[in-house]
């Protein structure tokens, strides 16, 4: 079972690497922090009203955190949806689902391969953005101690560990959007509709978070989980938002995945 899913996963990754939209997403994720740093080098102002924004010229370590904040609104959801919304719909569009489902693999194995490939891409996008941001920022302003959200200084080595942890936590809500996109891709069989639908879902989650009267549900909205990494940047570390992000995102991941799995398992594979 694991070996079979492994073989499918390997080829799902190969298929992603053979498609332009994958590179479009990855290039966008790496270009954004570079452009961000270049603009800040050429200008005097800065993003002072966002977390760590006022320290951005102190150390390259601050850059990925600030870029993650800006990209959570629609940039990374769109980049994620580009692939997640297409991964099943493209098979319907090319009519290739019948080709792979008449071999020796069960539908559940094929679905698992697609989920793993989508999450791998999402993971790669987050880490590409974070690490390129770190590299670009460090080239511009050096790799110096980071000022935490509590105002204390964090050594560069420890700051790097905090960045990696933050990227992992940031990956969780993005995985929620990826799974929502995968569900739309499975149900609608339409790539464009799934990409747009996923983006709308992400924007709706952000919008709900800023509407008055939503305070009681705000901690459980997907958009809120994009800020969970702030907990790592406090002294001492505040694990509450991180732990909440883990279980809240687990729900946002598992519910659409479960729905998509059931549809994928039972759907009629007829021509479009």
């Amino acid at each position: 079972m694991i070996a079979a899913v492994g073989r499918i996963y390997e080829w799902e990754i190969a298929k992603l690497l053979a498609q332009k939209r994958t590179y479009l997403g990855l290039i966008a994720a790496t270009l954004v922090p570079i452009v961000f740093v270049v603009v800040l080098v050429l200008q005097t102002g800065g993003p002072n009203d966002v977390p760590l924004g006022r320290y951005i010229r102190d150390t390259g370590l601050a850059v990925p955190f600030v870029v993650l904040f800006f990209m959570s609104i629609w940039g990374l959801p769109l980049i994620t949806a580009l692939v997640a919304g297409d991964i099943v719909a493209a098979e319907s569009h090319n009519d290739t689902l019948k080709t792979i489902l008449t071999r020796s693999r069960d539908r559940g194995q094929v679905f698992a391969g697609k989920v793993l490939a989508t999450l791998t891409y999402t993971f790669a996008v987050v880490f590409a953005l974070g690490l390129v941001g770190l590299a670009a920022g460090s080239m511009a302003w050096g790799f110096h101690p980071l000022t935490s959200l509590s105002g204390t200084k964090v050594a560069p080595g420890h700051g790097l560990v905090l960045l990696l942890g933050s990227l992992l936590v940031y990956f969780l809500p993005l995985a929620g959007i990826a799974c929502f996109g995968l569900m739309l891709s499975t149900v609608t069989r339409n790539s464009a509709a799934s990409v747009v639908g996923s983006l709308m879902f992400a924007l709706l989650m952000q919008l709900l978070g800023v509407l008055p009267g939503t305070e009681s549900v705000r901690p459980y909205l997907l958009g809120t989980q994009f800020e969970a990494w702030h907990g790592f940047l406090r002294t001492p570390a505040d694990w509450a938002p991180v732990i909440r992000a883990i279980w809240v995102c687990a729900l946002y991941i598992s519910i659409p995945l479960g729905a998509a799995y059931l549809v994928f398992l039972r759907r009629d594979v007829a021509s479009q």
Partner: protein
């Protein structure tokens, strides 16, 4: 039901809303058959094949491929089964070779040995030189051939081919038929859906004819052809005298004048007696030939609305 029987479908029904696409279809393909599945476009051939391959869930009925139900045991039921429905499809952005490697990864077995098999199959379908081209740039015929290679990669005992020669040029059609004949001679059971009657007549030993979702004939092709009533055509320089003689000749029935000839029904003995009678009456004969209904005529008779229903026509 029998575990060695390649295909056994009983009471298959597929309903889409108000439309009954497949209506209580029974199909049996025996080992070694080259089974022709005939029907006009939209008759339900492809829907039936998709159900056989587990791609579409039947509304009612049961399917067994070598004794296993694809809707119960999933991909395990497709062990030893390969083919394509509505034309083979591939990832257009991958090369033919990579498409086959991908499909090999979706099959059981050792990937290393599959690699050499892929090269053999590309050679067999004459695509080895184009194996590193992306399939998106392939012609229809090349995709059909690649589809055969993809199916053979599974070393099938049962091959399901949906309209394998559609869209091919005459040389491509001939090559495809030669290939199917060769595979059948190697012991592979073939279920071939087609609307090309010549193709079925040339390749198949058993046929099923489907019309509006219902099977109107299933059996040996030779038995079907034998059900056609045999008629005769007579041409004479004196058609009026010949007609008068025919009308009074014992054993001669249903005399009709058409296209300058007289057509009638009779058995062989009656025709022999008729030829003597015509000679004795000094009526010249330029042609006296049997006319047997072709598969095409039988098919049209069974599938066209204005024609009588198949059961009646065959009976």
């Amino acid at each position: 039901m029998n575990d060695s029987q390649p295909v056994s479908a009983r009471g298959l029904v597929k309903v889409y809303g108000e439309l009954v696409a497949v209506d209580h279809v029974d199909l049996t393909v025996e080992k070694g058959d080259v089974f022709g599945y005939l029907g006009p476009n939209g008759a339900g051939k492809t829907t039936s094949l998709r159900m056989l391959l587990g791609l579409i869930r039947p509304t009612e009925g049961s399917i067994r491929l070598f004794g296993r139900d694809p809707h119960v045991v999933g991909a395990k039921a497709l062990e030893g089964v390969a083919g394509f429905v509505e034309g083979p499809t591939f990832y257009p952005y991958l090369t033919a070779r990579r498409n086959l490697r991908l499909l090999a990864a979706y099959d059981d077995g050792d990937l290393r040995s599959k690699r050499s098999r892929i090269e053999e199959l590309l050679e067999l379908v004459e695509l080895r030189d184009r194996g590193d081209d992306k399939v998106g740039g392939y012609s229809h015929g090349m995709r059909q051939r690649l589809g055969i290679a993809a199916a053979l990669l599974r070393d099938p005992k049962l091959l399901l081919l949906d309209e394998p020669t559609t869209g091919l040029d005459p040389a491509g059609m001939r090559d495809m038929r030669d290939l199917v004949r060769r595979l059948a001679s190697e012991g592979i059971t073939v279920l071939l859906s087609s609307h090309l009657l010549g193709e079925v007549e040339e390749l198949c030993n058993r046929v099923a004819i489907i019309r509006k979702g219902r099977i109107v004939y299933e059996g040996q092709l030779q038995d079907l052809l034998a059900t056609a009533s045999t008629g005769y055509r007579l041409r004479s320089p004196e058609p009026d005298r010949a007609r008068a003689l025919l009308l009074n000749q014992p054993g001669v029935r249903e005399v009709v004048a058409s296209d300058g000839a007289l057509r009638f029904q009779a058995d062989e003995d009656a025709v022999a007696a008729l030829s003597i009678a015509l000679g004795q009456a000094r009526i010249g004969v330029t042609a006296l030939v049997p006319e047997t209904a072709s598969l095409e005529e039988l098919f049209l008779g069974m599938t066209e609305d204005e024609q009588p229903r198949a059961e009646e026509a065959v009976a």
